[in-house]
Symmetry: C2
Amino acid sequence: MIILLGGTGYIGRAYQRFFERGGIPFRSLSRDEVDYTDPDRLAAGLRYFGATFVINAAGYTGKPNVDACEDHKADCLFGNAVVPGRIRLACETVGVPWGQVSSGCIYNGTRAGKAGFTEDDAPNFSFRHPPCSFYSGTKALGEEILADAAQCYIWRLRIPFNEVDESRNYLAKIMRYQRLVDATNSLSQLDEFVGATWQLWQLRAPFGIYNVTNPGAVQTRDIVGMIQRAGVCRKAFEFFADEAEFMRTAARTPRSNCLLDSSKLARAGVRMTGVHEALETALRKWSKEPVAEAALA
Amino acid sequence: MIILLGGTGYIGRAYQRFFERGGIPFRSLSRDEVDYTDPDRLAAGLRYFGATFVINAAGYTGKPNVDACEDHKADCLFGNAVVPGRIRLACETVGVPWGQVSSGCIYNGTRAGKAGFTEDDAPNFSFRHPPCSFYSGTKALGEEILADAAQCYIWRLRIPFNEVDESRNYLAKIMRYQRLVDATNSLSQLDEFVGATWQLWQLRAPFGIYNVTNPGAVQTRDIVGMIQRAGVCRKAFEFFADEAEFMRTAARTPRSNCLLDSSKLARAGVRMTGVHEALETALRKWSKEPVAEAALA
């Protein structure tokens, strides 16, 4: 039985849809059922349900954005660094393989020569490589706590989007923000991310870190162009003059904008659509397949 | 009622002795009685016992030394950074003033001109200023999580010692290590530390950070000389050639060696003995006043 932790969050709900559509038996454990932040209780739960694989899609993200993490540091640190360490302990105790949904937000910019960061590059937007947001710092610590974990995947998601209009979707955010920062980023189409992570396990790809992003990079201004051409939002988009103006007037903590190299994923045999095509597809289908979110809660 | 958290640890037991000797009513709460890592339960406990002041002497230290924290990162991060944040939340909810036992191990070396670090200096041995041990990183994050906390003292302890021969006592460590690193440090005589922190609150000194160390600095070789002159240990002390040899042959993670400036404490009206005198006194009384530790557990 596949055990899903954090199943009611934005990422967790995508896993639920994926398993349901694929007819793959799974069980989403809520913290009320089994307090999975307690390694002993989680280990007992994993044994009770006969876990064969565990996915941790739980994490602490600020609402409405990463600035909120600056006011909830202890919760953020607990959810993003301590809890993964405790899940590791439980999974290692029971001897069950698992995957942690991590984040590419622990990098900023590109490698020398405008290349994307690989899994071998140390985070450069973390407590150990300041500046960073508190959120990114906790995510990098979370990966550090999972270093050398047994039978563990670390799947790095980066700015998720798909065709469903909801608050965590990057395309919805772009349409709703008053002003935008123009930056170049790697992105993850949410449902492709979920499928790719599952495929890694199905292929029994080696455990370890994988950047799970759609190949390519995209600028915010390009995405705005696509949105306008798709006709899904007719407002006049405004941009900050530069990141400095954004930081000065609208943000409390710096943002990660970065390129990730997803060739390790491809070498493992997992293909994801190019990022421009994935964006065009999402905008073409925009909001036409709303998900009954309450049914999945 | 004064509420003591972490009362069974090395620092917590010193608080228990201090309050008992002074006839000061207090209650040491164990995690079994009240899970003080849960802010709601702690807040309820503080209300139930009519807390007027809270002391958090709990923290995660590696056993037998700081290297062990590298293998227990999640626990270390939880105990030293998340838990202080949760105690802050509970104390702020109830509106009770409190003090956190922090550590000077978030610095290394001296300020320019061989002066000690003041409370205004940012930590320079932390995740944000690498290299550091994982332990020191979590301690610095703990202080960061308490920044701007309401009615909160942050009391920095630095390498505690007194006259009682037990494993956490720095003098006992020096006598037991096979080889020593010669370094210059500030130290805290444990019982003076406890008395000084209490005096800050009795004087209603402004809340905030205080370096609570005995004035002055001392080199490991000087302490060895004092031990030899006091006649409490007759072994031949050996030293590593330098810190590099120590790191290469005996340590997994770097150690903090640092000078702290305790003049803010003195300006608040709290006096501590000079560090050389405090060491001489401890060695003169060495082991002559054993404490019935079991009685305090």
